[in-house]
């Protein structure tokens, strides 16, 4: 079976710092894969290269067999890869529903000159998506007034609008309290399930990783240190030494 995403010999350097050192990775459809690693290990650089924000120095990125390594973020999004951000990237002066409406309007080739709420039911679609994340109540609130956890969910909801083949979530539970992290992640997984079959999420919390990931890829200094099911990878001696710091 052809993987959704296939990365071959991916390289990226920032001066003397090696952020990606001949990375090779296949991501089959239907998996929930967690990328782990210490700060600076190359996880976000990997996400940035896959989504077109950074251009690799070498190697190839294949989406359904087609090379997307030189595409812009806009083209990559249109081809079927969406992402959320570690720090939610929202339009803070707009309401939650308006944020989603902008995302929904980006799916069609033409933006309507009608109001978001009226244009081809896109307003309803936007509010419906918020509802899936349990956020229908905040639809008319400006994002600037919303809590960090709520913003995080809106950010993910916006990434989901295109029903991507591959959804990349950069630290979906960062900034969320310890008590709420499982609830938040449950909401995300539940809401994402109908639209995104393949999910890659960058995560520092090993409890989240072991609970939600089918597969874990551990990064260290731009290389893949370990790749496999969570129970094996999280017990790996090198992973414990360089990534999890002895966390069980």
């Amino acid at each position: 079976m052809t993987p959704v995403l296939s990365v071959r010999g991916l390289e990226k350097r920032f001066g003397a710092v090696v952020a990606a050192d001949a990375l090779t990775l296949d991501i089959p459809a239907g998996q929930k894969i967690s990328l782990i690693g210490a700060n600076g290990a190359g996880k976000t650089t990997f996400v940035n290269m896959v989504t077109g924000y950074l251009r690799p120095d070498g190697g190839s990125i294949l989406l359904d067999g087609a090379d997307i390594g030189r595409q812009s973020p806009r083209s990559v999004a249109r081809l079927g890869i969406s992402r959320s951000f570690q720090i939610p990237q929202l339009f803070v002066d707009l309401t939650a529903a308006e944020n989603l409406t902008v995302a929904v309007s980006g799916v069609s080739a033409r933006m309507s000159l009608r109001q978001g709420a009226e244009a081809h039911g896109r307003g309803e679609k936007a509010v419906g998506l918020l509802g899936r994340f349990g956020l229908a109540d905040v639809a008319d609130r400006p994002v600037s007034e919303l809590a960090g956890g709520v913003r995080k969910l809106i950010d993910i909801a916006m990434a989901l609008v295109r029903r991507p083949k591959l959804l990349l979530l950069d630290e979906p539970t960062s900034g969320v309290s310890a008590e709420e992290k499982f609830t938040t992640m449950d909401r995300v997984i539940h809401a994402v399930a109908p639209d995104a079959a393949t999910i890659v999420f960058v995560e520092h919390d090993m409890e989240i990783v072991s609970r939600y990931a089918d597969r874990v890829v551990a990064f260290y200094q731009g290389r893949i240190l370990a790749d496999g099911v969570p129970s094996h990878v999280l017990k790996d001696q090198e992973v414990r030494r360089y990534v999890t710091g002895g966390v069980r």
Partner: protein, 329 residues
């Protein structure tokens, strides 16, 4: 979330403002015509400003519209006011179509300075062009309307007032529809975070380019009105102080309300006229104090007088039930 547009009310307001010209004193007719014309170009600046970019060189399109109309009027004897506005808008829009996509990749001060530079290049070319009258410019004939000539100055002023109010009014209605549309939301999104807009699969440059062309169309039409009002055109149309004046109106108005642009333009014209009349040697000082006062006490522009209050009311209305449900922070 849904905001009503009240289209019939807006059309009614435009009709009322047009008919109001019948009872206005003659001197206010020309003042209101200039105010409406300036409001049109300032509205374009506001449209563009919603993407986070300010043009300091709208004089370029203002002059392109004016010169385009003047040349066609003199060459073909075309004097119809409506046709002249359409030609002015087309000249501005065509130039905007050429420049917009090239300039859309820049932002902030670079965007502003590039527009200013282009307008000054055009100014320089106009000054040196003897075929276009050089720095003195040239004159055009009195405008007509649908084959009717107006020899009575009062009727001629009213005709120009009516056309300018109707065109500017409909441009205002179009801008209101645009602001509330999906495209309008995307424009605001570009201003806030154009990278996220790209990640959503939307071309930020395309959104900026389209808004740029709309602003250029409005500027070209405004140039046509200025030409008809003065019946003369010269390179001053493209000079940076002319562009600066339009930016002043846009700053005075803020970018939250279309109506504010018309209020700001009229207020500026009235302050300028009265201070010029009663304080002929220090009228610039009065104008400066007026601008400082607005910037100091209404940093969001005149429009924030009513838009800010409306937003506050709607936020208070939605906060109460959310606090009860625990969804709010």
């Amino acid at each position: 979330m849904k905001k009503e547009l009240h289209l019939p009310v807006m059309i009614g307001l435009v009709a009322a403002a047009t008919l109001f010209g019948r009872v206005l004193p003659t001197w206010t007719l020309s003042l209101a015509t200039i105010a409406a014309s300036n409001a049109l170009i300032a509205l374009g600046i506001v449209v563009l400003a919603r993407t986070g970019n300010v043009s300091f060189g709208q004089g370029l399109f203002f002059a392109a519209g004016g010169y385009g109309v003047a040349l066609i009027a003199n060459a073909w004897g075309l004097t119809d006011a409506v046709a002249q506005v359409v030609i002015g808008a087309a000249c501005g829009g065509l130039l905007g179509l050429v420049i917009g996509p090239l300039i859309a990749r820049y932002s902030g001060i670079f965007f502003g300075m590039l527009t200013l530079a282009l307008s000054m290049v055009f100014y320089g070319a106009l000054v040196k062009s003897t075929a276009l009258g050089g720095s003195d410019g040239f004159n055009v004939g009195r405008p007509s309307l649908f084959g009717m000539s107006f020899t009575d100055p009062r009727e001629a002023d009213f005709m120009l007032y009516a056309v300018s109010v109707i065109v500017t009014g409909f441009a205002g209605i179009a801008a209101t529809i645009l602001f509330k549309s999906e495209f309008g939301l995307a424009s605001l999104a570009v201003r806030e975070n154009n990278l996220r807009v790209e990640y959503l699969g939307i071309s930020a440059n395309r959104v900026i380019s389209i808004n740029f062309v709309i602003a250029a169309v409005f500027a070209g039409a405004s140039g046509a009105f200025a030409l008809m009002a003065q019946r003369h055109i010269d390179p001053q149309f493209a000079y940076w102080t002319t562009s600066g004046e339009f930016v002043f109106i846009a700053v005075l108005a803020g970018n939250q309300s279309v109506a504010a642009v018309f209020v700001a333009s009229m207020a500026l014209e009235l302050v300028r006229s009265f201070s010029n009349l009663y304080l002929p040697n220090t009228w610039q000082l009065v104008l400066g104090v007026f601008l400082l006062g607005v910037i100091l006490f209404l940093p969001g522009g005149i429009g924030s007088l009513w838009i800010g209050k409306r937003r506050k009311r709607s936020t208070l209305a939605t906060k109460e039930p959310l606090a009860e449900k625990g969804a709010a922070p």
